[in-house]
């Protein structure tokens, strides 16, 4: 199915050759190759926009899973407001419509000298540039008693799919009157408002089905993203149901007792009916193992091209990157991936590159029809990325505004996943 894109391209280079656009034709003959590691939001977007902006480049996307389930909106699934299928997306459009070679495998290693990417199953793929977007991994050394095996009893549900399903089953089988204990991670972590959105939507679910139940948030921090908006919503919608304890109150999270389902803090041990531990995070394992991270645990990058500061020829986008003020969100991963794809296309084909426009937009549900939004623009400054403007919802907004924002959020989900996985007009 690659063929029609290539065929069409053949025709266009013919026309350009007539017009004397030499550089493009020369680039097409050399057949530059880009390998993308990870078919999450960052990787899928990078592959698609490379295909869209530089049809002469051969693009291979390597992702172990046959389908991708989004973390965004998974808090709605958790509380019965949408299905997991509606959050799951395949790679067919990227392969068929955009001519991307999609391989379902894991990448074992990048060899920056030989310029090859080694697949777990054995083959090595040569590349001119490689884009790495492996997302996050969890630092299981940080909380005693909580390791990978423990996630099967006390889920983190911070990657969507089986973990989210497990947490939903636990919430459904919990008896009314129990306490849901959510352990919120230290900064930086994937999606700053998401733990608190989760608490809000679980409270909504309890209000409908288990009204005597409560939520306790044990935070590794002393404050959190959009705190005023959440505290206001908790007071209006879920009075007395959600308690938030900052680190300065508990002295911090010390250990998890999986058998007892309890969380030990420096001051007190809290027993849960259902527990959800979101551990501290760092760049995906692949980045850790391939020399892409610095002592912060994240990948330093050039703020314009997203090329690794540690390994030339390798670009890192999405949660794994350390991109100044940019938070770890799907919107950011998509925005970075576009800038990176255009920069790579320019480097490999000689096409024009505009200065990058980097944004984050975030929709957060406080209840199914009370949502808030915020939007931030960024700009590369002196080797890093800085916030330029930041606009967001206010506490005193009308119910209509909040309702409209919730509708907008649903519409955003459709457009955004189409943009990432290849259904939009491009």
């Amino acid at each position: 199915m690659k063929s029609w894109t290539r065929r069409e391209f053949g025709r266009s280079t013919g026309a350009m050759a007539l017009a004397g656009l030499g550089p493009r034709l020369a680039a097409s003959e050399s057949k530059a190759r880009v390998v993308v590691v990870g078919g999450g939001i960052g990787g899928a977007t990078a592959a698609k926009y490379l295909a869209v902006s530089a049809p002469t480049i051969e693009i291979t996307l390597v992702e172990p899973k046959p389908n991708y389930t989004t973390c965004f909106f998974s808090n709605l699934y958790l509380t019965g407001l949408c299905s997991l299928e509606s959050l799951t997306h395949g790679y067919e459009t990227l392969a068929q419509r955009h001519g991307i070679n999609v391989i379902h495998d894991s990448v074992a290693a990048v060899d920056p000298v030989a310029k090859t990417v080694g697949l777990k199953s054995g083959p090595k793929l040569p590349y001119d540039r490689v884009v790495v977007a492996p997302g996050i991994t969890f630092n299981y050394d940080a909380i005693a008693g909580y390791d990978e095996a423990a996630t099967q009893v006390i889920p983190h549900a911070w990657n969507a799919g089986p973990q989210t399903q497990l947490l939903r089953r636990q919430l459904e089988s919990m008896e009314d009157g129990g306490v849901f204990v959510l352990v919120a991670p230290p900064n930086p972590f994937r999606c700053p408002p998401a733990p608190y959105e989760r608490a809000s939507l679980v409270a909504y679910y309890f209000k409908q089905h288990k009204p005597r139940s409560r939520i306790l948030i044990l935070d590794a921090k002393d404050s959190f993203n959009a705190q005023d908006l959440f505290l206001d919503a908790w007071e209006r919608h879920y009075r007395g149901m959600i308690e938030w304890l900052p680190a300065q109150f508990t002295g911090g999270i010390k250990a998890i007792d999986v058998k007892e389902r309890s969380v030990e803090t420096a001051s007190e041990t809290f027993k849960a009916a259902v527990a959800n531990v979101i551990p501290p995070q760092m760049a995906g394992q692949f980045a850790q193992q391939n020399g892409l991270v610095d002592q912060s645990g994240w990948c330093p990058i050039d703020p314009i091209t997203f090329e690794s500061k540690l390994q030339p020829g390798t670009h890192v986008v999405g949660d794994a990157s350390s991109a100044g003020d940019m938070p770890k969100s799907a919107f950011v991963a998509n925005s970075q991936a576009k800038a990176c794809a255009f920069a790579i296309a320019a480097a490999l084909t000689g096409s024009e590159r505009q200065s990058p426009h980097l944004f984050n937009t975030c929709y957060t549900f406080l209840s199914p029809d009370d949502a808030v939004s915020n939007a931030v623009s960024f700009k590369p400054v002196a080797g890093t990325i800085k916030i330029v403007d930041n606009f967001g919802s206010q506490v005193q907004e009308s119910a209509e505004t909040r309702h409209r924002t919730a509708r907008e959020a649903q519409s955003w989900y459709t457009a955004f996943t189409r943009d990432t996985f290849g259904y939009a007009a491009f």
Binding site: A15, E352, S377, K379, F391, S393, F416, A424
Partner: protein, 105 residues
């Protein structure tokens, strides 16, 4: 690419005679429109977020400037409109208006 070429032809920018500035305008328009595609469906579909296809370049430009001046309220559109230069707004407006002619249901 197929689409971009089709668009160029539809917009009367014949590729055979394309000069560098037109190519740059087209590439720039596509790169800027990529940013719009994170929220707006560019296949003509609509929802809680209105479509931006079917508007003339003048209308699109005027709307962006209204967001920039906060005459029309939207956190997102305001941040975006402020980050684009007048020239970029004109470029993306031309690109989107041309894209509209190519959209199939």
């Amino acid at each position: 690419m197929r689409k971009m070429i089709a668009i160029s032809i539809a917009a009367g920018l014949l590729i055979i005679v394309a000069d560098c500035s037109q190519a740059a305008d087209r590439d720039g328009g596509a790169q800027l429109a990529a940013m719009c595609a994170s929220c707006h469906r560019l296949d003509g579909g609509d929802g809680g977020i209105p479509t931006i296809l079917g508007m003339s370049p003048e209308m699109l430009t005027r709307t962006m400037l209204a967001y920039r001046s906060h005459e029309r309220p939207s956190h997102i559109m305001r941040a975006i409109a402020l980050s684009l230069s007048d020239e970029e707004i004109a470029t993306v407006a031309r690109y989107l208006a041309a894209l509209n002619r190519q959209v199939r249901p």
